[in-house]
Amino acid sequence: MRYVVAKDSRDAVALLGETAGARVLAGGTDLLVQMKLSETGPALLVDIKRIPGMGDIIEEEGGFRIGAAVSGAEMGAHAALKAQWPGVVEAVELIGSAQVQGRATMVGNLCNASPAADSVPAMLAAAALARIEGPEGVRDVPVVELLAGPGKLHLADAELITSIFLPARVPQSADAYLRFIPRTEMDIAVVGAAVSLELDENGVIKAARVALGAVAPTARLVPEAENALVGTKLDASALAACAAASSAACAPIDDKRGTVEYRTKVAGVMATRAAKIAYIRAGGTL
């Protein structure tokens, strides 16, 4: 195996294109574990952490652009980002221990493409855009359109993600992410739920995005749950409809962490709890 530090993103694209079996190395918290557990490692690791700008969080058009080498710990320490997108930041901060936070990136979490990845539902609810660079140039793609299946993204050969863009927010809007795990720290989501809401001046929900993780081959948006929330002040019937729609959107696996029945039920509960947190953060009163 070879290890190369990419000088810039064009260099990274070229390196990825030249060598069959080349992989991007960000925080390495998935990749190094996989290398340890498999017989054949990648032929080439392309370290993107020293590419200028890749480690930056910048304000852009009222939103935030987060470079692909930004660690979870760095996102958690960014007060303005946390104030605007508390749900995305709390999802990223749930990834692993303090040690893992020191390395793990949100983009690596997306690219590893685990159905249970914590940051992905939060990015879907936030309508995040991924900036992708490849041999054909640069393109911006909604994160939701990249999800292809467990361990798979719709990325072409030699493409990499250089940043994630979280859009501007109107006043009275907020997001939240909750996951259910059997313990309180260091475990893989049984269910994850992210909700992003925009309220009008009367506290009525104008726009909603609801996303679930760990209950299907990829994280998914749940339009029926969103429709259940819009036009309401999160009254009991709206919450019940949101829960029912969230449960109906589940197609989970059965494993030691949770049965199909359990995950399906808990998805509804988590979605409504996340909705309540987002609603209060957005300035609503329950």
Binding site: L32, A98, Q99
Partner: protein
């Protein structure tokens, strides 16, 4: 296959080493530099026994390549305290009898020190969450948490 040449600073000393592309920082520290304080409990990021800091950031050295350390400042447990001048964390761990086999202890010291740098006055809950990635199969954690809280109080200049 030619080795990679890496320049770094470890516990304040300039250190150059050669390593393979797939060699972890943990293996470099232990097997090439004879800094065996960091332990390999799992090799997969779960136990925290290999904790070190890189440029002040707490990491699991089993999930970092030696090559990635180029130009970095690394601190290991060997850089904390001295036999005749223990760091308050080390002394409090001893006084609280917060170790048995001791395998987890270097990682606990490095991790707890990193916490106290950014939060000199953590709550018990803060300490428990921060150390959630440091597994100990002997002590049951309680004494470790009390020792860290006592060291934090001592470092703030408070009387126990």
């Amino acid at each position: 296959m030619s080795k990679i040449h890496v320049n770094s600073t470890i516990n304040g000393d300039t250190v150059e080493f050669l390593c393979e592309a797939d060699e972890t920082l943990l293996d470099v520290l232990r097997d090439r530099l004879n800094l065996t304080g960091a332990k390999e409990g799992c090799g997969t990021g779960d136990c925290g026994a290999c904790s070190v800091t890189i440029n002040g950031r707490l990491v699991a050295s089993c999930l970092v390549l030696g090559a990635e350390a180029e130009g970095s400042e690394i601190e290991t447990v060997e850089g904390i305290g001295a036999p005749d001048a223990l760091h308050p964390l080390q002394r409090q761990l001893l006084e609280h009898a917060a170790l048995q086999c001791g395998i987890c202890t270097p990682g606990i010291i490095v991790a707890a020190k990193a916490l106290l740098v950014q939060n000199p006055d953590p709550s018990e809950e803060d300490v428990r969450y921060w150390l959630a990635g440091n597994l100990c199969r002997c002590t049951g954690y309680d004494k470790i948490i009390r020792a860290v809280l006592a060291a934090a109080a001592e470092m703030r200049g408070e009387n126990p």
